[in-house]
């Protein structure tokens, strides 16, 4: 049986009827057309589907849309305005991506980390990103990007 949910995504409230089995990532991509959130492993490992749910980074392939009812979701599309968000810009500037598939998830996790810890150590960055997998460029430049974003955001 379908249920109506009210979910605020990137500041805009959506009321939609969904089947309870619909995953949040499908709601975001297929209902709302926000395809910046990627589906990678689909098994709670890779973190390509990371979004913020009430400000906390979660894997949206492992959340039901009905669980997000009444909550706020932020996706990669919600980060930039006229200009790229400092985290996005830092990823670009430090070559923190190669194929780019993991990038939205990496950026959402980095954004969440910096929102609660503006000046993380390298180890804290690596720990925070341990649920996001990159299979091409490796993590060195990704860590650099987060450090660079942290510097710029604290200025």
């Amino acid at each position: 049986m379908e249920r109506e949910v009210s979910i605020k995504v990137n500041g805009k409230l959506y009321r939609e009827k969904v089947e309870p089995r619909m995953l949040l990532v499908h709601f975001i991509r297929e209902r709302l057309g926000l395809t910046g959130t990627h589906i990678g492993c689909d098994t709670t490992n890779c973190g390509a589907c990371t979004v913020l749910l009430d400000g906390r980074a979660v894997k949206s392939c492992t959340v039901l849309a009905v669980q997000a009812d009444g909550k706020e979701v932020t996706t990669i599309e919600g980060l930039d305005g006229e200009k790229l968000n400092p985290v996005q810009q830092a990823f670009l500037d430090t070559h923190a991506l190669q194929c780019g598939f993991c990038t939205p998830g990496m950026i959402m996790t980095a954004y969440w980390l910096l929102s609660k810890k503006p000046d993380p150590s390298e180890q804290e960055i690596r720990d925070a990103l341990s649920g996001n997998l990159c299979r091409c460029t490796g993590y060195v430049n990704i860590v650099r990007a987060v450090q660079e974003a942290s510097r710029r955001m604290r200025k």
Partner: protein, 285 residues
């Protein structure tokens, strides 16, 4: 991947949640954070007709310390254990909360879910066994208390009866505790994990609890090793012997994570290190 169809309930009281479970025996499950259950449903290892989401029931997300006992609500997210100052002196819980799965899963996954799922690879059950925690389970009829040691009956099978929900976790304080685990890669389940809790009086061990993760059909207590330490002064040779005993009490099987022999070796090593760490912490270090 999409789970097969189910009906979803989001009750606002514990009683209503229990009633929903009771009225659909065998077909309904509690949905807490969903970090174990949703993958099972997606891969269709499990099919359920009804999910009862307890996340909107007020009062299940509290962490409170009272008279030397930590009370944890079942809907406390694992990440919240990290942020709560009262959890810090319950070292083994704080250790586990930093290394369960990954930070994103910890933001969603709950203490009650980790404990009720009955997966012998979950980390918190061994911690609760070591710390001698008591679980309160609630049904429409009655509340009862179950010691963590008596809660795990078989793989994915707990002492929870039809219509019962784990409603509170009470953890007594100890002078020192630790949880260590060895994993193959970031975010993975462990090869083995060991939780130790000690009540110390100088070098004298008044009481001790040891719990084991991933090395049996259920999370285990290493009862013989505990007995060796209780009432004795802890020195290097006794710790070594107790660690050996714990490794013999483990019931590992050979699989993807390693051979049974290797897992016993890991249990021995981690038991020794966890006892030593718990002793250091009991000394206030």
């Amino acid at each position: 991947m999409t789970p097969s169809s189910f009906e979803y309930f989001s009750p606002s009281t514990l009683e209503e949640a229990c009633r929903l479970l009771e009225s659909h025996p065998g077909e309904a499950r509690v949905l807490a954070g969903g970090q174990s259950l949703i993958p099972l449903l997606k891969m269709r290892f499990t099919t359920l007709s009804y999910l009862v989401d307890i996340s909107r029931i007020p009062g299940l997300s509290e962490i409170r310390e009272e008279n030397g006992t930590l009370h944890i609500g079942p809907m406390v997210r694992v990440a919240e254990l990290n942020d709560a100052p009262s959890v810090r002196q319950y070292h083994a819980i704080a250790d586990a909360a930093r290394i369960i799965a990954d930070p994103l899963v910890r933001n969603m996954g709950t203490v009650g879910g980790n404990l009720s799922h009955g997966d012998p690879s979950n980390d918190l059950p061994a911690v609760m066994i070591a710390m001698n925690a008591v679980f309160t389970v609630t049904s429409t009829v009655v509340s009862r208390r179950i010691n963590a040691r008596d809660f795990y009956l078989d793989t994915f099978t707990t002492a929870l009866k039809e219509g019962e929900i784990l409603s509170s976790i009470s953890v007594p304080g100890h002078s020192g505790s630790a949880y260590l685990k060895q994993k193959r890669s970031a975010g993975d389940f462990s090869v083995a994990g060991v939780a130790v809790a000690l009540d110390m009086d100088g070098r004298l061990c008044r009481w001790c609890g040891i719990g084991l993760t991933s090395v049996g059909p259920v999370p285990l207590s290493a009862a013989k090793a505990e007995e060796m330490l209780r009432g004795n002064e802890l020195n290097a040779s006794l710790i070594e012997r107790a660690a050996s005993e714990a490794s013999m009490e483990a019931r590992p099987s050979s699989d993807f994570y390693g051979t049974a022999e290797y897992k016993r070796y890991v249990v021995k090593k981690l038991t020794k290190e966890a006892i030593e760490l718990a002793i250091r912490r009991a000394g206030g270090q």
